[in-house]
């Protein structure tokens, strides 16, 4: 049978099953920890931004860096007008021959412009970080005038006038003058009314997209930026980064920040120390609206390149969906096992809320697929602009007919959302909004004790059960349904016994740990910081839960000591023993 097929057409031989034409064998299976945000629930409280900053960027050099920020739409975003790729040259472009090249130029052009990156945003495009002269408040002499804390630049220390910041146009502050600079508003032209009576508004929380086809990684001359093979998190190797700044230009979302003190790139880490031990990212954990979902998505790595290079930008959304693999498919499961993905990760992917929202219910959409980076933080577009308008005009905003009519009539919000999520194609956005609208109507009937109306579900291509499942995920899902994060593999089973505590978790560079900064010969920018690692987490848990003194070697922090045994290196050697700590290291010179 297979032989008979083979000489008929070379293409048929590529298919394992001749019965399913057009279905290719599964290429290399990779796993990605991804996120979905439900924009209808975002109230713009910035809790995610603040907790992220507390966790990652409350240091000098990255005062202006917001790994997580919340933008008001319409608005300019952060940094200002970052979506205008004609100006900032982020992402990829497709050459006529079908090849993808970074918009700012290929390898040779990158190296030729390495001495001064021509399209890097300056600190003014973000904002000049500042602090306040609090000293005056405390030490001002008695006088008639009330002392004030004047703002001072964190760069120069000089007094400065605060004129811009990460969310200066929050809640449409600054009015039409600022909002009209939104690159999407400019593209849509005069149709968008920005007068306060007619406008619409929603919030867009943004983190690094941890793209499948990241331009920042492609732009890094040192090879310091990389995508982790196990979970797809994009990270900067701080020891290999040489500060060439090409990644800042490469990222179309402008989510790579240049630490101006250390001279190195920094970016959202997807809170990998938390994710590795099965905890949600800090922005998800603290989200007040509970609008974030985390989960594993399996994808075919061999198809990423061609999916990112489809000719029509409007096909990119479907192409990216096509790269995802269904973890319930037995063929996918065996391919995943073949490629070394543990079964518990595949199980986790099967329960993934991200996969459900993106692929099963098709209500989550990628942010700016036209950048061709295959972003992995997806969004459920907000129905609220439509609902708000209906309610304001005295209509019943939970009645299907009204909502469907309004989605059709209110073209501006739909077109705006399409520019954000589907490269301008309104059909997918339309479908998502209709599904959300159908869910409202369908569930209202249940709440009011009326009988289920299956026709509402059918009208949007779903079944009543599917709608109820979607409702459960969007409205009721508890912590462990929203955050389905498996612990890192290759650590907690196979590697048991060789794990070693690295040190006090507060012992990072400049941190309050017992070790301080240690010896740093070239000022605060030099030296090697201790890593926060999953090994530390497991070693600590091991010691805290075991009955006896645990056997892990190395230095044990007094704060983590559970009183069991007498670990080496915790106390000075007894005189009669004369031994040193386990490493055989001599006592220091002093």
């Amino acid at each position: 049978m297979a032989d008979g097929e083979r000489h008929r057409s070379p293409r048929a031989t590529a298919s394992e099953n001749p019965g399913e034409t057009g279905r290719r064998p599964i290429g290399r299976v990779m796993a990605q920890v991804a996120m979905v945000m439900n924009l209808d629930k975002c109230i713009g409280c910035h809790t995610c931004s603040v907790t992220c900053k507390q966790a990652w960027t409350n240091r000098s050099g990255v005062e202006y860096a917001w790994f997580n920020n919340v933008e008001t739409r319409p608005g300019q975003g952060y940094p200002r007008t970052y979506q205008d790729q004609d100006r900032w040259k982020g992402g990829w472009v497709r050459r006529p021959n079908g090849r993808l090249v970074p918009r700012a130029g290929g390898r040779i052009k990158r190296l030729a412009t390495i001495f001064a990156n021509p399209v890097m945003p300056s600190i003014q495009d973000y904002y000049e970080p500042w602090t306040y002269d609090y000293d005056t408040l405390i030490n001002a002499p008695l006088g008639d005038d009330f002392p004030v804390a004047t703002p001072h630049s964190a760069l120069t220390g000089e007094p400065m006038k605060v004129e811009w910041s990460a969310n200066w146009d929050d809640d449409l502050g600054g009015g039409p003058e600022l909002a009209s600079q939104d690159p999407i508003v400019r593209r849509l032209g005069d149709q968008v009314k920005l007068s306060f009576e007619d406008t619409f508004m929603f919030y867009l929380p943004r983190i690094c997209e941890h793209c499948l086809n990241p331009t920042c990684v492609a732009a890094c001359p040192s090879g310091a930026l990389y995508k982790r093979a196990e979970d797809g998190i994009v990270l900067v190797d701080q020891d290999r980064c040489r500060g060439w700044r090409m990644c800042v230009t490469g990222c179309p979302y402008k989510k790579i920040y240049f630490n101006h003190k250390t001279g190195k790139a920094e970016k959202c880490t997807f809170c990998y120390p938390r994710v590795e031990v099965g905890m949600p990212t800090i922005c998800s954990e603290t989200c007040v609206g509970r609008l974030r979902y985390l989960g594993v998505v399996l994808y075919d790595a061999d198809r990423v390149g061609e999916a990112a290079a489809v000719e029509d930008e409007k096909d990119l959304y479907e192409a990216q969906l096509g790269v995802f693999l269904d973890p319930n498919d037995p063929a996918v499961r065996s391919a995943a096992r073949r490629d070394g993905i543990p079964d518990r990760w595949v199980e986790s992917a099967a329960r993934s809320p991200v996969f459900a929202l993106a692929r099963r219910f098709r209500v989550a959409l990628p942010l700016h697929p036209e950048y061709r980076t295959m972003p992995m933080v997806w969004y459920i577009p907000p129905l609220s602009p439509v609902v708000d308008t209906l309610t304001r005009t005295g209509h019943d905003a939970e009645e299907t007919g009204n909502l469907f009519g309004a989605i059709d009539a209110l073209r501006i919000p739909v077109e705006y959302l399409a520019e954000l999520f589907t490269a301008g194609d309104t059909a997918p956005v339309d479908l998502v909004l209709r599904r959300l609208a159908a869910m409202r109507s369908y569930m209202r009937r249940i709440n009011l004790g009326q009988e289920r109306d299956e026709s509402i579900a059918t009208a949007v291509g779903m079944t009543g059960t599917e709608i109820e499942d979607m409702y459960r995920l969007l409205a009721l899902a508890k912590y462990d349904e929203r955050y389905v994060v498996p612990t890192a593999y290759g650590v907690d089973e196979a590697d048991r016994g060789v794990i070693e505590e690295v040190g006090c978790s507060l012992d990072f560079e400049g941190g309050p740990g017992m070790g301080g900064m240690g010896e740093v010969p070239f000022g605060e920018a030099s030296g090697r910081p201790d890593e926060a690692s999953v090994e530390t987490f497991h070693a600590l848990r091991d010691r805290q839960t075991s009955e006896r003194a645990s056997a892990t070697g190395g230095r044990i922090n007094l704060l983590n000591w559970d009183g069991n045994g007498r670990p080496d290196g915790l106390f000075p050697p007894r005189e009669d023993e004369g031994t040193d700590n386990g490493r055989g290291q001599r006592p220091g010179p002093t």
Binding site: F115, S122, S222, L225, K227, D237, E500, G518
Partner: protein, 244 residues
């Protein structure tokens, strides 16, 4: 004195450069960066930095050719001494002036732009002084000799003094006499050069050694597996500190 300057000092500098680079790579990979200030100011940098760097690249190529290739070889290739001299002088002058103009602009920018000046360390200032002195002595010497020769004078040929000495260093038999016979400006410039080399591993100039040539030959997207043991990945483990 000549023995110390031209027989011993070059080897001291060599040990400093090689040892310094190894030491820095082992213990301060995090500090190994360009420490770019483009985020603060890019208008002047966009002119000054390429001017300086590209000028410097040409200057370096010129030094390599002048110091490493013996005059007998170029003569054998049919390049007359006059042709060599004129082309080296003219190319060297153009590249030298570009480099000097570039560094002047960069230093002025560093002094006049507030945030850039605040980000300048003492280490940087020392490095700038030595770097500018090396450029100025080299360029000044070239201009002076070109002027003398245009006026019909005769100057010593560095290809008979400095170059043989430079080559002799690498075969561990330093030709001190050759260098001692060179004109004083050459000696001054060579000393400045040695000082600059000695500083290389310990300043931000170290970024020159991480020129990303490999970028041209690698795939765009880099995948890496999670390091199970960060300290085992070719890095020196920081010594375990005492707990008391």
């Amino acid at each position: 004195m000549d023995l110390v300057l031209w027989g011993v000092l070059p080897y001291v500098v060599l040990v400093l450069v090689v040892g310094g680079l190894i030491w820095r790579y082992r213990y301060d990979r995090f500090g190994w960066t360009t420490r770019s200030s483009e985020l603060y100011e890019s208008r002047l940098l966009r002119i000054g930095s390429p001017l300086f760097h590209f000028g410097l690249l040409v200057v370096i190529v010129g030094h390599v050719v002048g110091l490493l290739i013996p005059d007998t070889w170029t003569r054998a290739l049919g390049v007359s001494d006059t042709l060599y001299h004129v082309s080296a002088l003219s190319l060297g002058l153009i590249a030298g002036f570009c480099t000097l103009a570039g560094i002047t602009l960069l230093v002025w920018r560093r002094r006049s732009t507030g945030p850039v000046f605040s980000a300048t360390t003492r280490n940087d200032k020392l490095m700038y002084v030595v770097l500018v002195l090396a450029i100025v002595t080299g360029l000044g010497m070239t201009v002076y000799f070109a002027g003398v020769e245009l006026a019909g004078g005769r100057t010593g040929d560095y290809r008979e003094t400095v170059s043989p000495w430079f080559r002799s260093i690498w075969i561990l038999r330093p030709d001190v006499a050759a260098m001692a016979a060179a004109d004083a400006p050459y000696k001054l410039h060579a000393l400045m050069g040695l000082a600059l080399f000695a500083l290389l591993p310990f300043t931000r100039l170290v970024h020159a050694f991480s020129a990303p040539i490999g970028y041209l030959f690698r795939p765009y997207v880099v995948y890496r597996t999670r390091d199970p043991h960060p300290a085992a990945a070719g890095q020196s483990e920081r010594a375990t500190r005492r707990g008391w």
